[in-house]
Each structure stands twice: as C-alpha cells, then as structure tokens.
C-alpha cells in the first residue's frame, strides 16, 4: 500500500521556508512557503488613515487585502478581486484581529497585503502565517504569532496539510485511471473535506476554523488535535527563522 500522493505520512507537513524583512519599503514583510504554496506578505502601519470617516474611535482599523496573482494557478486567475478573495480577506482579518493590540492606535490603520504567488492548497493558512511574520517584522504589537495550517479528510483518511491533488480527491474519478487506482486503496472511498485552521499557541486556541465538506462529528476533535500538532511545528520553525535573523547580524 503506497503512502500519500507525495509520499508523506498522514501527520507530516510539507517542506517549510520562511524569510522576514524582504521588502525594504514596507514597514514589515515576509515570504512564507509550504510545499508549493508561496505567499508574500507586506504590512504598512500603524499609519494615518485616509479617508477619515472610516476611522474607529478606540482602535486601529485593520485592512487585509488577500489576493492571488494571475499566474499563481494553472488556469490564469482574473486580476479583479473574486468573491472568494473578498471573503478570505475578511476571515483572515478576523483571525489577525485576535492577536493584534489594536487599542493602542485609535483612529489609525494597519494595512496588510497578502499576495499568493503560487497556489497549491492551503493558501489562506500560509497567508495568515506570512501575515504574522510580517506584523512582527513591522513591530506591530501582537500577543503571539498566529499559525495557519489545514487538515482534512481525504477519502477515509484524516491528514495534515493537504496539497491541491488531495483537495480535489474523488475516489470515483480516480478508479477510472489506471495509474491513480493505487491511491484509492490508500485513501479510501469518497471525496475530500478540507478544514483550514489558524492557531494561537499562547492562548491554545483557534482564531479561524473553516470547513468545506462533510465530516462525522466525532472526528472533528481528532482533526483539530492534528491541526494543533502541525501548527506547533510550523510555529517552532518560524520562530527559529526570526531569531536566527537577529542573532546573525554581520558587522
């Protein structure tokens, strides 16, 4: 019986890469890659808000712009903000609001640009992690880093960090393909349900839980625990990257 499509174990993450402070003009920036999904984050602020009527009396306004590059997916994505991008901008904003000390900057704005350069599933999760790094790079006061990771039920298996192939899994279609039949043996019958998560380690809580599909209620707990495990691994990795940057400043 072969393992997952890309050879990983059920609870194994794809390869992670992170860089901080790569855009000199932004107040804070980061590049985050998980597998083939790559997201660039840029943070501007806290800064003066125009137009003034959007200002909030007692806190900073958080503006999140999640967008996918036209070349980030195999079929060119039209440049205008799609409904999906508008929704993801909103859910990511809500997740980030839970970690930023927005009350320290009343009437100001913090602009967060999340640009997906290459999409292979898990883009909103990678975007949240990238945003977290960029916010820290910008010196925006935060409670902790927030880490995005996706879990899912592919066929009958619960796995961590799905790639696009797993997200599109459909056992009925695969059975008709000679080369792909073996994967049906591994994953089992059914389609794929993905569950993007965002986890804040210091609070031991999720700031984002979404689900696209169907899962029996008694499996939810197992999926969340798997998500938390994956998130903590990403958390340790990104902290290592940030710390290394400051410890290795050459003179």
């Amino acid at each position: 019986m072969s393992p997952r499509y890309d050879g990983r174990k059920d609870d194994e993450l794809r390869e992670i890469e992170a860089k901080v402070g790569i855009l000199s003009e932004a107040d804070g920036s980061a590049l985050f890659r998980i597998g083939k999904t790559v997201v660039l984050a840029a943070v501007y602020g806290p800064r003066i808000l125009h137009p003034r009527h959007l200002a909030l009396e007692d806190r900073a306004l958080l503006r999140v712009h999640y967008n996918m590059a036209t070349y980030s997916v195999p079929e060119r994505k039209k440049p205008e903000p799609s409904r999906r991008e508008v929704e993801l901008s909103l859910v990511i904003k809500r997740a980030l609001e839970s970690i930023i000390f927005v009350e320290e900057f009343p009437k100001a704005v913090i602009d967060i640009y999340l640009h997906v350069l290459q999409a292979d599933a898990g883009t909103r999760c990678a975007a949240i992690t990238a945003a977290s790094l960029a916010l820290a790079d910008a010196g925006v006061p935060i409670k902790d880093f927030i880490v995005g990771v996706a879990v899912g039920k592919v066929g009958e298996r619960i796995v961590l960090d799905l790639n696009k192939w797993e997200e599109d899994y459909d056992s009925e279609k695969l059975k008709q393909d000679e080369k792909m039949k073996e994967f049906v043996e591994y994953y089992g019958e059914g389609k794929s349900t993905d569950m993007p998560l965002a986890y804040v380690p210091r609070e031991d809580a999720f700031a984002l839980i979404q689900m696209d599909g169907k899962v029996p209620i008694d499996e939810i707990d197992k999926m969340l625990k798997l998500g938390r495990k994956g998130a903590l691994q990403i958390y340790e990795k990104i902290k290592e990257v940030v710390r290394k940057k400051y410890l290795s400043i050459p003179l």
């Binding site: 107040d27 009437k107 790079d137 935060i142 902790d144 880093f145 410890l247």
Partner: protein, 237 residues
C-alpha cells in the same frame, strides 16, 4: 519573587514566556497575563538586576508620541491657523501659530507658507498628546525650528536611545570624530550636516550600523573604529 526564563541580552519573541512572578520591575514593551510576562514585539531582554528586567523592541518604524520629546517633522499642510506636520507617527502633528511665532500675524491677509512651507524640515517639541485630537507641537525653544541644508535619514524609533547613547555618549563620539552637526529626533529622524558630503555619508552609514546591530555588545567600539577608519580614508583623498 520572580523568575526569568531567558539569559541577559537574549532575543525574545512575542508570546514567549519571559518572566513570571510578583514584585518584578519591568520596563519596555510587554503585556501580562496574571503574573506572566510576554513581549509584544521582537525584543531584546536585559536583566538589570534581581527582579528587574527591560524588554526593548528591536523593530517598528512608527513613532509613538510622548510629551517632551524632540522630533524632526516635515510640513505636510499649511492651514489658516498653523501647520500640519508629519512626525512619522500614525497621527499628524499640529503646529499652531502661537507656538511658532512671537509676532502678531493677521491670518486673513498673510500667507503662512512664508514662515514654514510644504516640505520644510522642522525640529519641534511635543507639548501635548490629547486622546482624540491632533498632537500639539512647538518650535519655541533651543535647537528648534526650521532645519536648513544637511541631510535627513530615518531609522527605527526604538533604536534612537542607542544612537544617543548613555548620557549622549554615542552621538557625542560621532560628532567628535567627524566634526558633523547632528540632531537626533526621538521619532527616528536624524539630521546630519557637514560641508563635506562624504562625511555626511559616513555618519549616515555609522547610524545605519547602530540601527541594524543595536542588540550586539561592543557596539560603541565597533562604531568608533568604523568612523576612525572612514575619516582616515577621507583625509587621504
């Protein structure tokens, strides 16, 4: 009694449990949950004594205004009753007429831009930070007013104390070795003036060095060597 979980001069990250306990004296940027202390930004932890710690942010380009600070601003708007100044904060600062001039000015007939115009660089002092209105500044005082000539560079406001040094030691060192005029704004804007533009560049490089490596020890010595080398090379030309 308190417990500190990191060594002196460690880099600490937001959300990391840095210290815990009652009777801890903590300065800098942090937040507490019960008796547990966490940094809000990527910071340098310094243990100043038993139960005394300081958490200094290493990042951040936005200046948080404090009354009494000397800042270097750039005039953004000329209004009927004064000027609006960008001080690198998330709020504009207001320089009212009475804090700029001693003479009587008829606002309906005179053009205020002849005193300070758009783009002018001004050294000013913060006199009020009200909750919801504009920050109030003044140019009445020593070393304040329009800065003419020279060059402005920008660093993170959190690094300004390092550029100034204990009792002004770092900035005095730079002035001594190079002979340049330097004015350091608490908002991270620094004005450098010297007749030789290459000396201005050298001073700027030294300050960027401090900005990048503020958490490394032995910095004063490194800056001294860097400047002395630089001045020697300039003298040779």
């Amino acid at each position: 009694m308190g417990k500190v979980y990191f060594e002196n001069k460690s880099i600490v990250l937001p959300g990391e449990l840095v210290a815990e306990g009652k009777d801890l004296e903590i300065t800098g940027s942090f937040y507490k949950v019960d008796d547990k202390v966490y940094p809000k930004c990527i910071s340098l932890l310094e243990i100043k004594g038993p139960n005394k710690i300081k958490i200094t942010p290493l990042t951040g380009k936005t200046y948080i205004p404090r009354v009494g600070d000397l800042v270097i601003g750039i005039v953004q708007e000329v209004t009927l009753s004064g000027w609006l100044i960008d001080i690198r904060s998330c709020y504009l600062a207001n320089l009212p007429l009475r804090e700029a001039l001693n003479e009587f000015v008829d606002v309906f007939t005179s053009d205020l831009s002849k005193y300070y115009d758009y783009g002018d660089v001004v050294a000013c002092k913060i006199i009020n930070v009200p909750k919801s209105k504009l920050i109030q500044v003044s140019v009445k005082g020593e070393n304040l007013g329009k800065l003419v000539g020279g060059r402005i560079i920008e660093i993170s406001p959190s690094k300004v104390p390092r550029v100034i040094g204990k009792g002004g030691s770092m900035v005095q060192l730079i002035k001594q070795i190079t002979g340049a005029k330097i004015l350091v704004g608490q908002n991270g804007r620094i004005w450098i003036k010297h007749p030789d533009p290459e000396v201005v560049c050298l001073v700027a490089q030294a300050i960027y060095l401090i900005d990048k490596a503020s958490h490394i020890s032995g910095l004063t010595e490194k800056v001294k060597n860097f400047l002395e080398e630089g001045m020697k090379n300039l003298m040779k030309k």
